[in-house]
Symmetry: C2
């Protein structure tokens, strides 16, 4: 059994707990929290709840520590810190800071003789893999990524910071005609506005001015100003009833040409349609935890990404089984 520790118990940590249960060769042995452990109820009967300050004492009792903190402030500190003591997996998703994060985790993991896998999930993660495979197969081609339909936590948070807004949810929606243009092999160039629209469901504070709120949302730089944005005002009950899930997904399209004169077009399309963004991310993480365990057993050390990991490491099946059943 691969012994898993979970550090951080929000949506992602709980998702990892659920994912590990689906993998018969893994078990969660401990969940680490910054809260008082007495106040935390987890689902796994056999696992302990510990304070994060106890983690060090689990060095020999955990094969892979899964870091479920946020990318803004938690993971840049936590992943290098814990990679010195444990094999770790994180879902660091600030694309622009990945090179720096990689370097920090690589140094720490090599120092500790551990494996640290960063940026695991679906984007970065499965979408990255599909961008990379498509580019490697079709060098005379382009790749396109579309997100949604799904809930963007960052944009939902931005809505909730607007004065007069009590609660809100934002959906990112890919523009169907843009998808079709890529599929047809036209190799289009898009503006931000042409690829995605944004749809907001907003609960107002009592007495708030809907027109003012709508304008402030629609004109918010970075978040909404570059998009066609729709704002719907709904009741708190309706928000709870219809918008309490966290679905997401999207598309990676690779479009390219082959032949001596580029006479043939090819389309590679990878699509995810996810009822729960954190649970799917967690499921990818659980598979890569298996990889971390196996690579460490082989004596590998340092930081790895999905690009560096042979697919077979993710599967509970043996090489023989994979070749006979799935090749």
């Amino acid at each position: 059994m691969i012994k898993i520790g979970i550090l951080g118990y929000g949506n992602l940590g709980r998702g990892v707990e659920c994912a590990v249960r689906q993998n018969p060769d893994m078990e969660v042995v401990a969940v680490f929290t910054r809260r008082d452990p007495k106040d935390l109820q987890i689902l796994t009967q056999s696992a302990q709840v510990c304070h994060v300050s106890d983690a060090e004492n689990w060095k020999d009792k955990i094969d892979v520590m899964i870091l479920c903190g946020g990318s803004a402030t938690d993971l840049p500190v936590q992943t290098p810190e814990y990679a010195a003591m444990f094999n770790v997996v994180d879902s660091f998703d600030t694309h622009a800071r990945i090179p720096e994060h990689f370097a920090n985790v690589d140094a720490a993991a090599k120092c500790g003789g551990k494996v640290g896998i960063i940026s695991v999930g679906w984007d970065p993660g499965m979408f990255s893999l599909n961008r990379m495979y498509a580019n490697a197969i079709l060098p005379e081609g382009k790749d396109y990524t579309f997100w949604g339909k799904g809930v963007s936590q960052g944009h939902s948070d931005a809505i909730r910071r607007v004065e007069g807004v009590k609660d809100g949810k934002q959906y990112t929606i890919p523009v169907e005609s843009a998808l079709e243009a890529v599929r047809s092999g036209k190799d289009p160039e898009f503006t931000t506005r042409e690829k995605h629209t944004r749809e907001c469901f907003v609960v107002l504070e009592e007495g708030a001015d809907p027109q003012a709120v709508e304008q402030e949302i629609k004109n918010m730089p970075n978040y909404f100003a570059d998009y066609d944005t729709t704002v719907h005002f709904i009741s708190e009950e309706e928000l709870k009833e219809n918008h309490s899930e966290i679905p997401h997904g999207g598309f990676v399209l690779g479009s390219g040409r082959t032949g001596w004169e580029g006479e043939h077009h090819h389309l590679i399309e990878y699509r995810l349609k996810l009822d729960s963004n954190p649970e799917f991310t967690s499921s990818v993480i659980a598979a890569y935890a298996r990889a971390a365990y196996r690579m460490a057993k082989e004596g590998q050390t340092g930081c790895k990404t999905v690009f560096d990991i042979a697919p077979a490491y993710l599967s509970a099946k043996t090489g023989e089984e994979l070749r006979a059943e799935l090749l």
Copy 2:
């Protein structure tokens, strides 16, 4: 530059030649044929055309030999034979015989200190990878493979063997309602007939009986009897005009559930839409030739499949570039 040899110059060999030209770090140095080399015209000015019996003399001048023979009789013999002398890549696609082929190539490649990558292309190949990733991520799920719309060479050959048939082409077509049933998360079980239909375009010999030909095609065991098959009789000109390309493609769908009680559904969908089946297969092979070269440089030996190869080996980009641009 990675020096590529091509053994066999049919549709696949010519496709490899085109694919290599798209990769700036590779060049075709020689094409080996069973024909008289004087009778073979290739596209690459700088490459030599040699008789297959000369291959041995190229041991030190070729980094990766790409074997472009057929799976029925060529590759089971050729791949082990050449894997003892060269790093090789093949597209062996007889799924049931892969374990045996793997064992033979593994022994030969280890003996020769070479890397042999087998069963590269899209199925087996990219489709296998997607089946494997989906199963590893969603252990409580199922995977489905649909082929088409595309030309099946085997079924087209079968049509042409029918008495009274001068020429013909067969298209395999996935049943849209079956795809939709999978996408909706119903986890359906399908009979053969429910997943694909077959459409045949047939040119009759003069005086042949269309009804007899149609009945013989539709009732042909293994090939057509288990499917809903449509037969169209067309002129030789029409066949040439509208059916001389070799498009193909298909879908790998992974459907599964997550959550403590399986409360959330997820769909992973990988689709290929290929104008030229052999050219796309060749493009995948070219990327894996790069992997064979690099793995051999690192001192690895033996038989590998797409499951065993870290994605980064396929790309001409460095690890730093991949992390900065595609992760």
